[in-house]
């Protein structure tokens, strides 16, 4: 969470991902770093005990949220709407 806000402060778009059990400390960290409404992506806990296939599944599930945070999904929709 700290990394995400640090990147953003430096003008580098970033999307932070947490597992749902860390929302309290994530919110505290974002608040601490001056981003009280910081939007992050969330996946179910646990992560470290998952096998590679399960990790890939988590990545697929969270991808739309990451694209939305980075503003890419909206841009993609705008471009395709202008072309149609």
């Amino acid at each position: 969470m700290a990394d995400g806000t640090v990147f953003e402060k430096r003008g580098i778009p970033a999307a932070a991902i947490i597992t749902h059990t860390f929302t309290a400390s994530a919110n505290a960290m974002a608040q601490r770093n001056g981003f009280p409404d910081y939007r992050y992506a969330m996946i179910p806990h646990p992560l470290s005990s998952l096998n590679p296939e399960q990790v890939k599944q988590r990545a697929h599930e969270v991808l739309p949220e990451i694209l939305a945070i980075l503003g890419i999904e909206e841009k993609a929709r705008t471009v395709s709407a202008a072309a149609s």
């Binding site: 700290a2 640090v6 860390f22 309290a24 400390s25 505290a28 960290m29 601490r32 470290s48």
Partner: protein, 357 residues
Amino acid sequence: MASGERRAPTDEALRSARAAIEYCYEQGWTDGLPVVPPLNELVDEFLGQTARDPGEVLMTVRHLERSCTVRQAAINSVMAGCKPDYFPVILAAIDAFASGAGMVTGLLQSTTGQAEIVVVNGPIRQRLNFNCQDNIFSPGDRPNATVGRALRLIIMNALGIRPHVFDQSTQGTSAKYSCCIAENEEDSPWEPLHVERGFARDTSAVTVQMVRSDLYVEHRGTQVPEEILLTIADSMSYAGMITQITEERILHGSVVVMGPEHAQIIAKQGWSKHDVKRFLWENFGKTKGELRGFGKVARDLEDKANDAFIHTGGSPESILLVVAGANNAGVSTVCPSFTVGRAGIGNGTSRIVLKRD
């Protein structure tokens, strides 16, 4: 009543004290136990024990933008119940932590939930009555109880790392309440920790490391050094202390608090402290086959044979060995550590500087 005895407080004084204690709870300043309300005049008594400037920054947690100054350390030392003359020990402990284990970013917030262990060496132990004999890990002695507690209150209040917010310990350890021991240099057959680390015996020093728990070890029925040491090494090597969630094998260390009886049996057979650390290190770990059974084989061990012994520590310096406790039974303690022997950080020992020095 003899002169020098404290008069029992009046009921009115006790009611005020109760109100002040409750106020400190309401401010969120405690570790769950009552704290001594930090009156300015008490804080000033502590600040008078050092030549260091009250505004001097002792340590910083950069990513949280939180620091601890000498004044904040004094405030938390008052709250912990310390006496003013303990303050130089606490300052040295913060220095030791900041230059050692405290350099591992995020460790204080980790789900592992480790505690800081404080080891005191040198003449200050007698001067301030630090306990180095029976019950070193138990309640009962003000210097041990309050110096360890002061460090934790500093972490919670000055550095802002509190439970349920920035302290993410899954369970934590009761050692986080306080874990401060003094080495029993008098009953130890070897050089004490601070001498091992280059200080003169009559210099006082403090060492701080991070530990995950304290584990009881006993062997009462042998005079064979290897049997005692293999028992200790086995206790150091339990599967649950091994972190294995990355591709590379993660190295660990251990604080071994050897009881004087064990130490004397071993030394009597001609073993030096160095011999003991080497033997412990050689037996600190598990075979690859055992690790596989526990599901804790790192990918970079794939080419090792199944019966290959995988060391948990990088070298004998992954073991911090002190002698402490009563000389009344064959009991020792091991404390798994992520920071002992870790490359890139200090060894966590600092000299205690008194104002007159």
